[in-house]
Subunit: 309 residues, 4 copies
């Protein structure tokens, strides 16, 4: 429902990072993931995001991951790249490095570990924008940063041209809708939801796109959902969303309490990709554990039931 | 998208409770609110809810409020009545009393003040159901109870026939969608959203109805939204939702920090009804403060801009 | 270290409420608990507190409990009585009733369920003080109310004579110490800690007393700790505190996840009293579960090791 | 009250990091801070801690800070150095670097940004211990990491020799006491409190030392407190603690809401050191704001009242 031109839109999965049994980045598998996503019709790739286990990578691993993805992508779709650091000066260092390696846009959270406030985070984004000349998306993920970016601040930074948009993983659908409304007249300000199972409603409310971790597993499904929505066929969009919500049940296969929140969700995506033959292992970045045999079997049941294998 | 018969559905506003300047229940104004809502085409009334300031009423006041509403309603639409107490035995006492005064269904939160868990709340609902013979809706409102009712538990209690549905004010749209899917085959299990600005998406996902505090101010708007959705005209539903989200801005008129969360939101609804001539004052239950003159003027601007006065 | 006269001080356990196998209040056992506490040398009794399961009692049960305790106490020590209700008008009703039944002082939380703020809670306490002529203690228990009473507000209400003191169960030792310092010159303003295992430090910092749930099990131990502290024998106080902290391990005997926080802690106290022959059962108020056989055996081991049986 | 030998104990302030008006590290002022602390009789220095604004420093700045402090210290007291990174592999890189620059022990939080659990953090500490051969202290600071390190886990890692101790900034005095008791028989396991105003109680309970941010301002005061406690003169320790709690009021001088929690507390310490002539400016790491003129004047009043200037 945005009345102005947008640069970025559609389905932009956060690319998972396969590892070998020994724990290093599995480059061939990562290349396969990118091909799988591009074949699925995605409109962009979110690299070095939470779903890519960026927080668990050394800078050497981050560079390798980004280079690999950029190589396979070869300019096909825009690369949104996370600059995952705790405070402004460190984000700027990180951001410059990933831009030099091919980032088309940066995705940046509010500060974390530091106990900050709105004023400091406004300065944070303004300083990063002043230092680095690519579009910057705010990544609102309070479950990790423990700071909810206020709607007013996002709108203000959008109007200033500091922010090119928002990736919302806040879990707050009320503020998300209010952001969509408040930002609807800002040119080139694009709002994405990071939640897998409410994409139809987000698009109905005017979102430009979606960054679904589950999109690694079923990129075509999200593309179908997105295209139905853009065509105004909301019943079809909802039906596709319901199907994808069913696939999303894979993240609940781990035994209660065995895995962390990180490991359960991302591990299920990697396990699905392994079962689908896209990647070789479901190994997680240390110290996260992978889904075990029983959990893997439970994922398989869901993938078979939903027709993905 | 529910495939089974439902008993309850549509627009069911939580009725606000007007007070006189002296602070007692303003019965004539309350009668006017009910007429205003019935004229607006609502499908039910939620009596003694949080938006009705139930937590601030003595039992004498609760009884007067319920009797008054039941009198004007005269059986026109179903009365969903809150039994607002902290633990099981107290809810049962409260529930029996309000059923004797005309409740068609009870709305019951998880336990609060008590630090409980899922097992205790399962027993809680089963005990209430065993003791009182009307449909019981779980009211999931963790911002007040600090306990999120798990989806699994709600589904289990629905299948047992203990619960007739859920009023969801959890602010968690992901679990809401998962509840809709998991409960879709339970007969006579109706799920309502309590959030004002995401009703289109909730209905698209399969919700049976909405319990919007803002519905006190604009019941017809919500009815239009609901009817557009039922007719499959989702673009119209979204447009109406966006208009209502604009009206909802009245809750942000209070000066930052002056009023509690309770007083700001409910006070804005009462102030709007006062400006619309439905009720006489915007007095709140003690110790809550009412919106002041400047804040009232700000509400008026929004009502004028959105055509409500 | 308070420089002014105090009315209330020492060891004031929150009296547990025994129940029969059928679930009703076990009056003879309750009488035994009171005798056990008075024999242990306690300086007051906290009646209808969280540890007494007040939140789970009907008003009829609350009255019976208070009457029973007041009867056995027969004026021996002051009765601090909880008025456990969610908002001001309801607290005033509750408070008047318990005062008529023998309360020497009221213990009152901030509002709960209602989402309130400091200003509303200031009015809350002022209104209760204006309506009821006994000393009022603020009960700061954010784990239940989800509102931390600000130090400034407590000091202000103390200076006004609205509050006679504070029972602090906030778990925030920093603000507790700051409250002790800020309030040290207020006459007749008495500050108690509600935490079992840091009483020596609280008294060293200037607290007037302690309201330990574990004091039901070992009242004499807390009295010894208190007397050592008052005599300036801090090494002895710390040694006694360490011994009591060891006894407190009974609250960790329930299997992880089986019981709610309420049921585990209070259930362990009741189980210990049952094993000591003071009460007949360890039955909890519904819907809370009691400790089972294995958990009871684990409590017994600790009681034997610490010489309590 | 520990019965076994300890390697580390006493007063170990987290060294603040002065900046020039232009925002770079002010090396001469930093050297003065170290001299001021050593003159104050401190028993160790905590370098690159939260109070040192480590989260806001680039690695180049971290290295300069550590080198400078190590140079002035010249082996006088042990250097505990923070390895402030979000996950295991990154902490190991950071830890190796700071050890090469002179760290005698590492101080390491649980993982952050990542949503982890106890099992992952156990592996986290074990992996760091396996990779780096210096004593490792767990830094429990859930206000930043949003993960409370469980007492059981800390004790287990202590017994394994993975951890040499704990710096507790959890704000949970109950679990702190339980940790002291549970760990009292582990050789060379030293527990420090990070809270400025409850040090007397912590030492009474058996803590080996204190890491007070306020110790930058008044190291001698904390040393006096510690020595009184070690001599068993608890009344003197409490009196000194009360005096220091009064000095700590400087952290409440910033206008409500103007500064973040970080900037207010650390800014007050730096402002005090500036007023005392130890450092040249009270400039904070960007994007934090410094205390302004009025706030600085309020700090001055407190320093004068407490005899520090």
């Amino acid at each position: 429902m945005t009345s102005v031109a947008t640069r970025f839109q559609g389905v932009i999965p956060p690319v998972v990072t396969p590892r070998t049994l020994e724990g290093s980045i599995d480059v061939p598998s990562l290349e396969n993931v990118v091909k799988h996503l591009l074949d699925g019709g995605v409109d962009g790739l979110f690299v070095l995001g939470s779903s890519g286990e960026v927080s668990h990578m050394t800078n050497t691993e981050r560079d390798l991951t980004l280079r690999t993805i950029a190589g396979v992508n070869a300019g096909a779709v825009p690369l949104f790249v996370g600059a995952c650091e705790q405070t402004t000066a460190r984000v700027i260092e990180e951001g410059k490095r990933v831009v030099s390696l091919g980032a088309d846009a940066l995705v940046v959270t509010s500060q974390y570990y530091a106990v900050s406030n709105a004023q400091e985070n406004a300065t944070h984004y303004r300083s990063i924008h002043a230092a680095i000349d690519v579009p910057i998306f705010a990544y609102d993920v309070p479950v990790r940063t423990h700071f909810k970016l206020p709607t007013d601040l996002l709108v203000e930074l959008g109007k200033e041209g500091v922010l090119a948009g928002v990736k919302d993983s806040s879990g707050d659908d009320v503020s998300f809708r209010q952001l969509l409304l408040a930002a609807q007249d800002i040119p080139n300000f694009d709002i994405f939801t990071g939640h897998e199972v409410v994409v139809d409603g987000a698009l109905l409310g005017g979102a430009q796109g979606v960054v679904p971790g589950l999109g690694n597993v079923d990129p075509r499904g999200y593309k179908n959902l997105y295209e139905a929505a853009m065509a105004g066929d909301w019943a079809k969009a909802a039906a596709e969303q319901n199907r994808l919500a069913d696939v999303f049940e894979i993240v609940y296969t781990p035994q209660p309490g065995r895995l962390s929140g990180n490991a359960a969700g991302l591990g299920a995506f990697k396990t699905a990709l392994m079962l689908m033959g896209v990647i070789k292992t479901n190994v997680m970045s240390a110290p996260m554990l992978a889904l075990d045999e029983g959990e893997t079997a439970a994922v398989k049941v869901i993938l078979e039931r939903t027709g993905l294998i």
